[in-house]
């Protein structure tokens, strides 16, 4: 049997209009056939740029120096989602949730333990050489640039490795530097760049090969609010250019502001996947009570959590006091009972407000932990 990439992939753009009708019928037919190329065709017809099915990754590492023990971490526990062409999709999750692991698998840098993923119809395990030129990725942080070269030289070097025509380079590099706002500083060594500038240079770097799908793993990590806003501006520009973007972050407002849909991921599992508006609906019926408390004790936390009308409690330790955030459907009516549970402690300020996406996120992530704990406790 003959089954080639080139053969099966239709020319970009032309078929898109025609496929509108076919999209409703063809996938089911193609999906049933085992042939990978046909499945890819189905994906294309469904207009999904990214298709992830039961993706799973286990890390094996050895711990201990003398008695080396094999330790397994299941970083991603069989997640599935798809991202439409031109969509800006967010993955939101706490530290260690498995965001980076997922992105690494999708960018062909890491092999999945099981499950499949296709990007633009290419399998991330097998079609590596066809896929790589069509995607771009950045990992948050300062590494991944040649610090002793200028920003301009970094871009020149990478575009040469991407085998971009020198004539094209000469036009594209200045354009990209302009896009990310580094035109003035392009000839300085990267060493002297601020974090935000390095991060923007990273974005320019991924755009060198004009990728159709971009993976941005925590692009605003460690940046001050102004620098983070600059990054978001660039991401928004890219979204408006109809690039398919997968963005990971643990800043809710960032996801809220930018993404069309968000997958909330915790401990390797997707706990929710929806539009920001729908995710907020999780907490729609709730109100949030914020209490600034002096000398907040763990018992008090337990007591608050034990109240029947309280859904979730988070505590942020501050310099002078603790900020206790309580989610409850009763809202303002709950305040007096909450205060009653805090007997002894000094409450300095009470605020009742509408829930935000952050509260939805807390609830999703916490709620999952809670059920986990109960499950473990009953054993």
């Amino acid at each position: 049997m003959f089954c080639s990439d080139e053969f099966i992939r239709p020319p970009r753009g032309t078929i898109e209009a025609m496929s509108f009708i076919a999209r409703y019928y063809a996938p089911s037919i193609f999906m049933r056939c085992g042939c990978d190329a046909k499945r890819r065709m189905a994906n294309f017809l469904m207009n999904n740029a990214i298709q992830v099915t039961n993706l799973r990754r286990v890390y094996k590492s050895y711990v201990g120096v003398f008695r080396r023990k094999l330790k397994e971490v299941e970083a991603v526990k069989g997640i599935s989602f798809e991202v439409a062409a031109g969509e800006l999709f967010g993955i939101l999750g706490p530290n260690g949730a498995g965001k980076t692991t997922t992105v690494k698998m999708l960018t062909t840098l890491l092999l999945p333990t099981s499950g499949t993923a296709t990007i633009l119809g290419h399998d991330v395990v097998r079609d590596v050489s066809a896929l790589r030129p069509r995607i771009g990725f950045i990992f948050g942080g300062e590494r991944g640039l040649y610090w002793r070269l200028s920003g301009m030289d970094n871009l020149k070097y990478f575009s040469s490795l991407y085998q971009i025509d020198p004539a094209v380079q000469a036009k594209r590099i200045p354009y990209l530097l302009e896009l990310v706002g580094l035109k003035e500083r392009a000839n300085e060594k990267v060493e002297g760049y601020s974090r935000g500038m390095k991060q923007r240079l990273h974005i320019a770097r991924t755009l060198l090969n004009d990728p159709e799908v971009m993976f941005l793993d925590e692009p605003s990590i460690g940046l001050d609010p102004v620098a983070a806003r600059d990054i978001r501006r660039v991401v928004r520009d890219l979204r408006d250019e109809k690039k398919t973007i997968l963005l990971t972050t643990h800043y809710m407002f960032e996801a809220d502001e930018l993404c069309k849909r968000i997958a909330v991921i915790n401990k390797g599992e997707i706990v929710a996947l929806d539009t920001p508006a729908n995710l907020k609906r999780v907490v729609q019926d709730l109100s949030v009570v914020e209490l600034e408390v002096k000398m907040f004790t763990p018992d008090a936390l337990e007591r608050l959590k034990g109240l029947p009308f309280v859904d979730a409690v988070t505590v942020q330790e501050r310099e002078q006091n603790s900020l206790v955030i309580v989610q409850s459907p009763r809202g303002a009516e709950a305040v007096s009972e909450l205060l009653a549970q805090l007997n002894g402690a000094t409450v300095q300020k009470v605020t009742v407000r509408e829930p935000t996406l952050e509260d939805a996120y807390v609830r999703l992530v916490e709620g999952m932990d809670e059920t986990k704990k109960e499950g473990a406790g009953s054993k």
Partner: protein
């Protein structure tokens, strides 16, 4: 298509050369170390007669070349790993071995300077006549030999990455190659069983041809035959290197060792 790869190799070459010329260790390895070798060898071989001048100049230049390749290409991947760029360059359409090849070219260019330096040393300080009897042949062999030498060095980087234990031998690998390739004395001094080892090292053939060309005893037939052999060995090295690179990159995807976090 082919041109694009050449262009990428050139970019790696340029970038590496520019960062090496200011590196203290490399200035030492490419310029000073071969000079000291040359000084010692000129001193030891003084009684051998003046015609050994060119022999020493060529030999210590090649020795410097090996040292720089050993450290330069040997650490090419590890360095990218430290700067966090390995994942990024692994994702480009340019094969990793080509990037390392380009980087090695940068190393080589600097090393060529060291050959010139030891040549001048023998001429100016020791007063040896250092004429190259067959200059055309000499530079032809030099060109072919260097390409093959780089190919040899290419096998190091993936080997070191695959097995860190092997890298402990990095320093210890310096002299054995000098010896087996007959850079400064003929391999006839060695026990017979080491001869096959010399024969599979292309720098051995390169040194032989260079010395013959410098001394004016190189026949065309030998030149053609051995040059072809040098190129063939180079091809085999590249083949082995590309397989090793593929294994390394595959392994890195399985073990998550491409990055360093």
């Amino acid at each position: 298509m082919f041109l694009k790869y050449l262009y990428a190799i050139f970019a790696a070459f340029k970038m590496n050369f520019l960062s090496l010329v200011v590196d203290g260790f490399f200035i030492f390895a490419t310029l000073l170390m071969p000079l000291i070798y040359a000084l010692i060898a000129f001193g030891i071989l003084r009684d051998k007669g003046a015609h050994y001048g060119i022999f020493v100049a060529v030999g210590s230049g090649l020795a410097g070349l090996w040292t720089t390749l050993l450290f330069g290409s040997g650490n090419a991947i590890t360095g990218e790993r430290w700067s966090g760029t390995l994942e990024l360059i692994a994702a480009t359409p340019t094969p990793m071995w080509m990037i390392v090849f380009g980087k090695s070219l940068g190393v080589i260019l600097q090393s060529l300077l060291s050959m010139v330096a030891s040549y001048l040393l023998g001429w100016l300080v020791f007063g040896y006549p250092l004429g190259i009897a067959q200059p055309l042949e000499f530079f032809l062999v030099l060109f072919i030999g260097l390409l093959s030498f780089i190919a040899f060095g290419l096998m190091l980087a993936p080997l070191f990455l695959l097995n860190p234990q092997v890298q402990q031998f990095q320093n210890a690998l310096e002299y054995p190659v000098y010896i087996l390739c007959g850079f400064l004395f003929p391999i006839a001094l060695l026990p017979f069983w080491t001869t096959p080892l010399s024969y599979i090292l292309s720098p051995y053939w390169t040194a032989r041809l260079l010395q013959a060309a410098a001394g004016g005893t190189l026949a065309w037939e030998q030149l053609v035959n051995e040059s072809i052999y040098i190129l063939a060995l180079g091809g085999v090295y590249i083949l082995i290197a590309s397989v090793l690179f593929r294994i390394v990159l595959k392994k890195a995807r399985v073990d998550a060792t491409l990055g360093l976090q």
